[in-house]
Symmetry: C2
Amino acid sequence: MPESVAIVGAGLVGCVAALGLSAKGYDVSVYEMRKDPRTDAASGKNMRSINLAVSDRGIRALHYIDSAMANRVLRNVIPMTGRMIHDATGIRQESQPYGLFGESIKSIDRLLLNRALLDELDRRDIAVHFGHKIVDMSSVSVDAPVALDFLTAGERRTYTYDYVVGADGAYSQSRYLMQKTMRMDYFQKYVAQQYLELYIPPADSMDAAGGVPRYSLDPNHLHIWPRKEYMLIALANHDGSFTVTFFCTWALIEALHTADAFLTFFRSSFPDAYTLIGEEALRQAHRHQPRGALMQLAVSPFASPNRRSVLIGDAAHSMVPFYGQGMNCGFEDVHVLMKLLDDSDDLKEALARYTPARKDDVDTICRLAYENYRNMSAQVLDPLYLLRKKIDYVFGKYANGRLFPWIPMYTMISFRGDIRYSDAERIEKRQAGILAFLSWAGAGGIAVLAAGFSAHWFRTLSRH
Amino acid sequence: MPESVAIVGAGLVGCVAALGLSAKGYDVSVYEMRKDPRTDAASGKNMRSINLAVSDRGIRALHYIDSAMANRVLRNVIPMTGRMIHDATGIRQESQPYGLFGESIKSIDRLLLNRALLDELDRRDIAVHFGHKIVDMSSVSVDAPVALDFLTAGERRTYTYDYVVGADGAYSQSRYLMQKTMRMDYFQKYVAQQYLELYIPPADSMDAAGGVPRYSLDPNHLHIWPRKEYMLIALANHDGSFTVTFFCTWALIEALHTADAFLTFFRSSFPDAYTLIGEEALRQAHRHQPRGALMQLAVSPFASPNRRSVLIGDAAHSMVPFYGQGMNCGFEDVHVLMKLLDDSDDLKEALARYTPARKDDVDTICRLAYENYRNMSAQVLDPLYLLRKKIDYVFGKYANGRLFPWIPMYTMISFRGDIRYSDAERIEKRQAGILAFLSWAGAGGIAVLAAGFSAHWFRTLSRH
């Protein structure tokens, strides 16, 4: 009889974990507090989030489980080959490609992706119990299975599983319950920024209804309005619309507490976006749309010492959205766990090895995501940053693999899932060091030439 | 009508907060999950903790509220004027005084102190509701009072208060509920050490029963068996016994998992303590006494932005016990809050100012407590540390106030509650800097003399 696994949370990472462990032969059941997002009309509103960008790590994890499944699930993505920088005049747009060879990250609506993944669970007869809120977890030893208590329709029910995987997001209840029975280090810090969700409708609603969606902006770019202290971004949806997110500090949004102040600010900061979103929609969003908090969160270890429970995805590591890696990192968690299972075919053994195998990488991407805010909101305009991008482009495209190894950081993170996050950071440090050395050596070379020339000139002068 | 305050937790800090706010004219009620420790026979076992040392900050806070109360509550303390270092032979003991002028910290049993404080609450007619577990807290705005839901005897009851003070310890439920409604940064980290509680009985149980307690060790010292990687400490109780605590890494205690291994280890490490505790008692403790985890914990901010709720004591900042400041810091929280009330007589205003007024000091003592493990377990044997203690003694006793200001660090933390923790750290950094300068200057002076002498000698030689 196969061992049983309960997965808490039927969000993106929970579904992928269910598919992965089921593919490995485990008897998987999924428990989700909310209703089925495929039938619940309100779920669109409840699953607030900026649009997601699937990139190599996420895609690799899906293909590792089942390529046909991966292709079905990802059929509706919109490739984004670069950033489109919108300047303050509202007139100029400038494209900055993401990759060296036209690689793209893929925009997808969270709700669509979640529904597609749930359909895949159905296809494999993996039971998903909606409306089940976990309220207790007793996990006593390495030899006993885990008892899980759920509250459903006012009743309390207990189920027993060999293992439990907590994939219930940043505000994880399973993490809270695990913390009661083990020594779990925990860190949570809110950043100074908040976000407000906005929306650009399809360019021509008549046409969109007719079939072919029409976009107001290039759908194959991630649009950024970088203004240093605040920024706006937009990602295309499949129907011709864009999901737009306004990031700024809590101090700023609180200062803009009247609709008029907000509209005036928005029009002068993002004139083109102001027109595309529309004054009335902005006024409504300002009044009704809640402000989202952004948090960094880390735990250690991920797995309990009795090797019966583990946290993955946002339950184990929440990051700010500025590197587009939150979901990708969560999918990679499942990928790492599956590769550990390839080695030993024993989930206990895999869980014992999981934290040391994964912790560094997760900490690295959380840090990089935080640092990338400056990058997206300000550095994209910085001449030195742009010069570095050009050098990366030339070295990465023409030197790498021929003359010397050179891979731009963004490429390693988003397009090279075979390179660990922590290795990517090490490689980038080395590359930055080489550039610093070259620039000093260049300056030094010029100084030597200058010194040589002056010596020559001095000798020449002295001769006369 | 006075404003109302609910205090969650009737432990030491919760009781002191109740006394303090009641003295300031608030209508205070206290809610406690456990039973009344004065009537519940099991409470001695449930309130596991090493003995406490009350020092100046804690005493000051109590006297600030009511001197007569402070004197009653502290009447059973045992003064400890220094550390008694037990060497590895089990024969030699060496006293290291804590203060310059015979100052003492005071040993007290947690349960006795808690009972005495609860008696003081009764004396002031402050209602304490035992057996009330907080399960929900809704605190919506600055203008509305706080609704608190408690579970008591299987029933759910809601009460409304103007303010709520969470004083329910490191595993605070009120903190968990506050986190749901505000952005609270949170940090929790377990240290490598665990602790195991042990016990030295009175020297002569016949005599102790008769009246005058007799001690096996000097009761007016905090006894330490410093062994670097592990250590034992003992604090006197009022009845002639000692509460003993064994600190070591989790790795070590897990390696000593058989009783025989533990006994052999214990006898060779602490021969005198082995005899005093007794083999059978050690065997029982090894088998039945749970290992205690030690955690550092910090939150920010302490008070909610709507200025209706606040965390104090271990709920807001848990520290390891190595500076004996956990409870003292919690009492000082109340003291700081009361001084803010002296300024404004408005608890909303006081809560708005509390986090900036308190955060630095709390972070400082948490860090110092962690660093003090090395101090207690190893440095007390280090000749350089002992030299520094001697310099501190001479400068602190004879120079301070006459020639130049000089206050030893331990004195500032434990005997000078008028100096903020963060200021103490700054002053100590300056003092350490002066000593480093003097030792360099001394070395420099010697070098100059030596150079002068060799020059003279060289000249003398050259003359011949």
